[in-house]
């Protein structure tokens, strides 16, 4: 923002007060006139006599107030803009301010004149109305600049002096009314009158001084408040943007996407030309761009690998500096300042990406303006870089953990697979025929190993799911489509066990928020279980219908061995298998239903079971649409 513009905006902010007070003054005048007439009425009531000059004066005030109202309606910036008086004052043009000032002066001068007349007609300097000049000065102090306030203070004192002079001179007396003989002597002795005048004039001047001092102090505080609120506003905007940035980084499941999000957001938040993340190689000698935003391809390629020994600014960061600001004019920081200048960069700031003391990369922002980074900018960048580093580290740890689990599973399964493959060669007779007992033994070996393989698979699947910091991003998936892909597999399993499998799928089912993989896990485990625990000749039915809540109801019913009631509560516990299940089938990891339950948790679905021993079981899952 241009400083000149900021100043104008600030002045307008304070002048808004003047503009708001102008109609208030008009409203106040209506009240004064009303009270004045009421006072005259009271005089008539008590003394059966009307103070006519005062009533004429009040009528005059009434007239000019009407005129002011009309003028205000034409001048009012709020009305013409169709806005309320608490709107942003920035739309008030500077040239309008002059008109408002003139309008304010006109009102105050006329009021002063009217007040002097009222004082004159109500007993001169001895009139109780004389005290009202104080209010006048206060009003002036509120509305107009300090100089004007003093000016009016002096004017009021002079006017009162004039009254005293008139009162004492040939033009005396004033028009005395109800207090002429009752309360105040209008023709009191000159000394008394002069003392009264001196006291009043002093009070006027002191009031002018107090009001202006108070106003100046308030204005200074107001200005400070305005500055603070602007700073607060700016930092609030930045922090909100930073929060959005962290949130976006938090849902990334790939390092590249995370860093791209960081550079793009950082450049946007700080309003700079470009941003980059460079990561250190394993030898801690070279930096490579891992993500850039706003930098040209040529520049990125020319700096594909940065030797930190040759780049002072990067070396400073790797060596532990909290930040380093580079100005392109100070050439000593850069090995190739021409490249940077060509890119349109005038200054840049580099910060470490680190977790605790370990620096693993450099976070850079590039500005087209020279020396454009203030201390608060630097502080903010540091916060941003630290949060980005934490997010990168968090994701890497998660990816490494998953990678380790997968690798461990692979190492466990490789020998298993080799043995199973060899057993299959034996069993299928590739190495010559076996007798029945040999074949049976080999088959048993094979089955046990396949079970172990399945167990490793399920364990891996569960561990990865529990390791994942971010659940898979859900999107709209049609369950029937996923089921269709899997159905041939289930049909062949059912055929092999002479079980009838029936799919009943309603037309026009809504899509659910899920992923293909989660639904695959859910369907495979539920249906395989049903097939596994149903004796040959039985029936498995899979129904997909719409439930009352508009979601999907998945029902898998079998005519299998059933689940004993006492096992219901432990059905979804790891490695748990009901006794009758163990007796019926050796194959079972005790993890299938755990995977089903955790999948449903992720899909915000529910599951319920009903079963009768020897008759079969029904699993009902409800999934929100």
């Amino acid at each position: 923002m241009q400083p000149g513009y900021a100043l104008v905006k600030e002045q307008l902010f304070f002048r808004k007060e003047l503009i708001e007070r102008l109609p208030w003054l008009i409203r106040l005048r209506w009240a004064v006139v009303a009270f004045g007439f009421a006072g005259c009425g009271a005089v008539y009531l008590f003394r059966q006599w009307l103070p006519l000059p005062l009533m004429v004066l009040l009528s005059g005030v009434l007239c000019y107030n009407l005129l002011f109202l009309l003028i205000w309606r034409r001048l009012s910036p709020f009305k013409s803009q169709g806005m309320h008086s608490d709107s942003d004052p920035s739309f008030i043009r500077t040239q309008d301010i002059l008109r408002f000032n003139v309008f304010a002066h006109a009102q105050i001068s006329l009021d002063l004149f009217a007040l002097c007349l009222a004082i004159w007609y109500s007993g001169g300097i001895c009139s109780p109305l004389a005290l009202f000049v104080i209010f006048h000065i206060i009003l002036t102090g509120i509305l107009l600049p300090p100089v004007s306030c003093y000016l009016y203070g002096v004017l009021v004192s002079l006017a009162l002096g004039g009254l005293v002079w008139l009162q004492q001179g040939a033009h005396s007396p004033t028009f005395p009314f109800w207090f002429q003989d009752v309360i105040l002597p209008h023709d009191g002795n000159p000394v008394e009158i002069i003392v009264r005048y001196a006291a009043l004039a002093t009070a006027v001047l002191i009031t002018a001084f107090l009001v202006t001092t108070l106003k100046l102090s308030l204005r200074t505080k107001g200005r400070e408040l305005l500055r603070l609120s602007k700073a607060l506003d700016a930092s609030n905007t930045k922090l909100t943007a930073l929060y959005e940035m962290v949130k976006e980084m938090g849902i990334c499941t790939e390092s590249k996407a995370l860093m791209d999000s960081a550079t793009r957001r950082a450049a946007g938040i700080m309003g700079v030309k470009a941003c980059s993340i460079k990561l250190l190689d394993e030898q801690q000698q070279k930096l490579r761009f891992a993500s850039t935003y706003g930098l040209s391809e040529d520049y990125i390629q020319s700096k594909e690998s940065i030797d930190i020994q040759k780049s002072p600014i990067n070396r400073k960061i790797i060596d532990g500096a909290v930040y380093a600001i580079g100005h392109i004019e100070e050439r000593d920081y850069f090995a190739y300042p021409e490249d940077i200048r060509k890119e349109g960069i005038a200054s840049l700031i580099c910060l470490p990406l680190r977790v605790e003391k370990r620096v693993f990369g450099v976070f850079c922002v590039y500005s087209e303006a020279a020396a454009s980074f203030t201390e608060s900018d630097v502080q903010f960048f540091m916060l941003m870089a630290d949060l980005t580093a934490l997010e990168i580290e968090k994701l890497n740890m998660q990816l490494n953990r998953i990678w380790f689990l997968q690798k461990a599973a692979h190492q466990l399964r490789s020998p298993l697979h080799a043995v199973i493959s060899m057993l299959k060669i034996l069993q299928k007779g590739y190495l010559g025929a076996m007798n029945v007992k040999q074949e049976d033994t080999v088959l048993r070996c094979e089955k046990r190993l396949e079970l172990l393989d399945g167990q490793v698979n399920d364990l891996l699947s569960l561990s990865i799911r529990r390791t994942a910091l971010n659940p898979d991003a859900l999107h709209r998936v049609h369950i029937p489509e996923v089921l269709r892909v899997l159905s041939s597999l289930f049909e062949s399993q059912a055929r092999a066990r002479t079980i009838d499998i029936i799919f009943r799928i309603d037309e026009n089912l809504p899509a659910v928020m899920a992923t293909d993989r989660l639904l695959d896990d859910l369907l495979t485990n539920l249906i395989s279980n049903a097939l596994k625990y149903t004796p040959p000749g039985g029936k498995v039915t899979v129904c997909l219908t719409r439930n009352e809540a508009g979601g999907i109801r998945l029902e898998v019913t079998d005519t299998g061995i059933g689940i004993p009631e006492q096992d219901f509560s432990r059905l979804f516990s790891e490695f748990y298998r009901a006794e009758n299940a163990k007796d019926f089938s050796e194959n079972g990891t005790g993890l299938g239903l755990v995977i089903v339950k955790e999948t449903l948790d992720q899909l915000k679905g529910t599951i319920s079971v009903s079963s009768r021993i020897g008759e079969g079981s029904t699993f009902v899952c409800l999934l929100p649409a």
Binding site: E254, S255, K256, L399, I402, W403, Q406, K407, A409, H410, R413, S414, P415, L416, H417, A418, V419, I420, S421, M422, K424, I425, K428, Y430, L431, E450, D453, N457, L460, R517, D520
Partner: protein, 143 residues
């Protein structure tokens, strides 16, 4: 079909390689073997095989993928059908570590993905299918 095709098996598990040799030789396929990506590439350079059966994790985690990727970018090798054999279930390899992501997708050169343990009959069916398809393609190209 069979008999004439030259199949190169690249896998660091010698027991598995021997199993595959037994299965393939039962159909009179010519079998050559290699135990890592580098050895495999040397054998391919020596003589282009009709089909490669390739393990994923060998000398390095991505040895198999690296070799497949390299072959894909060499005009003389990019048409060799490859069967990728892995102990990772396929869906895990697709969704898993990002190291694989850049290789999968558009430029994916693999003809088929099989999960270990290898079922002899399934393997033979897949091989036959791929060789037939490949033969048809090359015939069409030369015609």
């Amino acid at each position: 079909m069979g008999g004439v095709a030259d199949i190169l098996v690249i896998d660091d598990d010698k027991d598995l390689v021997e199993s595959m040799r037994i299965i393939l030789e039962s159909r009179q396929y010519g079998v050559r073997v290699a135990y890592n990506g580098k050895q495999g590439y040397e054998k391919i350079e020596a003589k282009i095989p009709d089909l490669i059966i390739l393990d994923v994790m060998m000398a390095t985690d991505t040895d198999g993928f690296d070799l497949a990727y390299k072959l894909k970018h060499q005009p003389e090798h990019q048409n060799i059908p490859i069967i990728m054999a892995t102990s990772f279930p396929q869906k895990m390899a697709e969704e898993g570590p990002e190291k694989f992501q850049h290789i999968l997708g558009e430029s994916w050169p693999i003809s088929h993905f099989i999960e270990k343990p290898i079922d002899p009959e399934d393997l033979l069916i897949v091989i036959e299918k791929i060789l037939t398809e490949h033969k048809m393609e090359t015939t069409q190209l030369s015609a």
